[in-house]
């Protein structure tokens, strides 16, 4: 009898040992799958982060998409490449994209390096905002510093392009400051963090004027009013722009007289 029970016990031990071993293997497989999924999740989140400001991605991941707007004081920077659409017609698409990505990369660096964020690209145009994501009492200084950094980055990039035998670029930048509503808006198909207010249009119009006055950076009185006195500005004739009553006071940015 005893030995029968012993055999049964031994058989059970073997059976459970086998079950335990299979369980271990299964656990290993599951753990590997879990690891792989975690990696996917992170990779996707990183890809996603390239399509929207990090803050927004985090908010959406945490809270989902909620309809909510905030009135904010923001400074808009609108940049456009002079004559680029003409250039785009005579150049190999892949080369065009390479030139453009290099340009966007550098402008992006100049903008985010001064606490701005890019709201959208429109063709070769860049619409950037300062103070729209986070309150920023120093937004005017930041935006003009960013514009000056863009000027420098572009000079640098043009040397690189010229060395490669590629056409160089020339940019016009318009800046305006005012209040508006910052919000994540859109539809089922496309959501975007955007800023609604006349400053967006006016910055684009002011940018248009850079061609007329043959300067690269123009700002309005609203920007000048809160600007550090160490920026050297040159007043230009007040100019009428479509869609805005009266004339707009504009100033060309020469340079920043800082120490170091």
């Amino acid at each position: 009898m005893t030995s029968v029970w012993g055999l049964i016990a031994a058989a059970l031990a073997l059976a459970f040992a086998a079950a335990w071993w299979r369980g271990r293997v299964r656990a290993r497989v599951l753990r590997a799958a879990l690891e792989a999924k975690s990696q996917d999740l992170e990779q996707l989140q990183m890809s996603f982060a390239r399509f929207a400001p990090e803050e927004i991605v985090e908010r959406v991941v945490a809270e989902g998409v909620t309809p909510h707007g905030e009135r904010k004081e923001a400074t808009t920077l609108f940049a456009d490449l002079v004559g680029f659409t003409t250039l785009s017609e005579s150049i190999e698409p892949d080369v065009l994209v390479r030139i453009l990505n290099g340009y966007f990369e550098r402008m992006s660096r100049a903008i985010t390096g001064h606490r701005g964020h890019i709201s959208t690209f429109i063709g070769d145009g860049i619409l950037a905002l300062f103070g729209a994501l986070q309150p920023n009492p120093w937004q005017a200084n930041d935006a003009v510093h960013a514009a000056l950094a863009m000027r420098e980055e572009l000079a640098d990039y043009n040397r690189e392009l010229a060395a490669e035998g590629l056409p160089t670029l020339s940019v016009g930048i318009g800046l305006h400051r005012g209040s508006g509503v910052a919000a994540l808006v859109g539809s089922r198909d496309l959501m975007q963090f955007t800023f609604v207010g006349r400053i967006v249009n006016l910055a684009a119009r002011v940018q248009d004027l850079t061609r007329r006055f043959e300067v690269d950076i123009l700002l309005t009185r609203a920007v000048k009013d809160t600007l550090d006195g160490r920026f050297e500005l040159r007043e230009l004739p007040a100019t009428a722009v479509r869609g805005i009553e009266g004339e707009v006071e504009i100033f060309a940015v020469e340079r920043f007289r800082g120490e170091a």
Binding site: S38, E42, Q45, M46, A49, A62, E70, L133, Q134, P135, N136, P137, W138, N141, T226, D228, G229, R230, G258
Partner: protein
């Protein structure tokens, strides 16, 4: 984004020994924390770190999760390590901790914790700052006025931790080093460490009623919360620190109040500036508007543009900016600057929330 993948530089300050500080830590905690040598040159920061423990009167059940979530929000790798250590000390397994993190991240938590976390995140982010609706939501879930104040203060305390740890780039290993042993540690007689970290609510003496120190309105409004007195003592200790002059300290508080759009904190900082002889509103406005002025000394001219970066940041860039500052400041000056900025972030955030209660 997994916190382990966030770029994190080497420490910005040198290790030093401060035997008096070590003795004090040993007396209170039963051991010298591994990050003590990085804070040796400016003792009030480690003292604040030790005193701001996780013992809560009203929200003890939420503390671990708030610490974890706010640290994640602030991308503080050091604090995240510290947070895991705390949970290990509480006897949780790695798997349990991961479960907590996942639940919290996916908002799969019960309503009280969820509301508490949301409010704490809002205090910590301050973008937008908490509003009457967020306070109302807490009240409806049964949070008392004292609990709401404690929640706001604790979230701001975590911001303080996150700030000094991230801005100094404290080596993550100093927070994580103990973790694997934590389960064992808690069974060993380690002085007051466990008592402190896992204590039942301790009631500390309330701040003195005749409080006249910096930000007295705030510390009095916090009443008899355990941390209110610690905050009072910390503000006094910071102001008594001989490394930076009081004027520079008040300027740091003013810049951060301006950045947070916190008018009352800015007014208090301006009052403190006036006490130090900077009385002209125009001059102060010029300084705050441009973070530059002929009135500033060379050191202040470097410190103020850096300080504004401590309000919202990504770790590696702000650590690089701190490293650049290190080249013109002494070890002790950088520590005092960062400790003060961390404290100003605490004060600026909690007072925005307190105004609503």
């Amino acid at each position: 984004m997994a916190l382990e993948n966030i770029e994190w530089l080497d420490p910005l300050v040198d290790r030093e020994r401060n035997r008096e500080l070590e003795k004090y830590a040993k007396q209170v905690l039963g051991l010298v924390p591994p990050h003590a040598p990085y804070l040796a040159a400016c003792p009030w920061i480690l003292r604040a770190d030790i005193h701001f423990d996780t013992a809560m009167a009203e929200i003890q059940d939420l503390a671990d999760n708030i610490y974890l979530v706010v640290s994640r929000d602030n991308s503080c790798r050091w604090c995240y390590g510290a947070s895991r250590l705390l949970m290990r000390l509480a006897g949780m397994s790695n798997a349990q901790i991961e479960k907590v993190e996942e639940d919290v991240e996916l908002s799969r938590v019960e309503p009280r914790l969820r509301a508490g976390l949301e409010f704490a995140r809002r205090v910590s982010r301050s973008n937008p700052a908490p509003d009457p609706a967020s306070i109302q939501a807490l009240r409806e879930l049964g949070f008392s006025e004292a609990a709401i104040k404690e929640l706001a203060l604790f979230a701001a305390v975590v911001v303080f931790h996150n700030r000094f740890a991230t801005l100094l780039a404290l080596p993550v290993s100093t927070a994580e080093r103990l973790a694997p042993f934590a389960r064992l540690l808690r069974f060993l007689p380690l002085g007051k460490l466990n008592t402190l970290l896992r204590a039942q609510p301790r009631v500390t003496a309330a701040a003195p009623a005749d409080d006249k120190g910096p930000f007295a309105d705030l510390t009095m409004a916090l009443g008899d919360l355990p941390h209110a007195r610690v905050l009072r003592d910390t503000l006094d200790a910071a102001w008594a620190s001989p490394i930076l002059p009081a004027r520079t300290r008040a300027l740091i508080f003013a810049v951060i109040a301006r950045g947070l759009e916190n008018d009352s904190a800015e007014a208090e900082a301006r009052r403190l500036l006036a006490e130090e002889g900077l009385e002209s509103p125009l001059v102060v406005e010029d300084i705050l508007a441009n973070l530059a002025s002929p009135e500033l000394d060379a050191r202040e001219s470097r410190i103020l543009p850096y300080v504004r970066e401590t309000i919202w940041y990504q770790p590696a860039p702000v650590q690089r900016q701190g490293r650049a500052l290190r080249e013109v400041l002494t070890n002790a000056e950088l520590l005092d600057t960062i400790g003060t900025a961390a404290l100003a972030n605490l004060v600026g955030r909690v007072s925005l929330a307190l105004e609503l209660t």
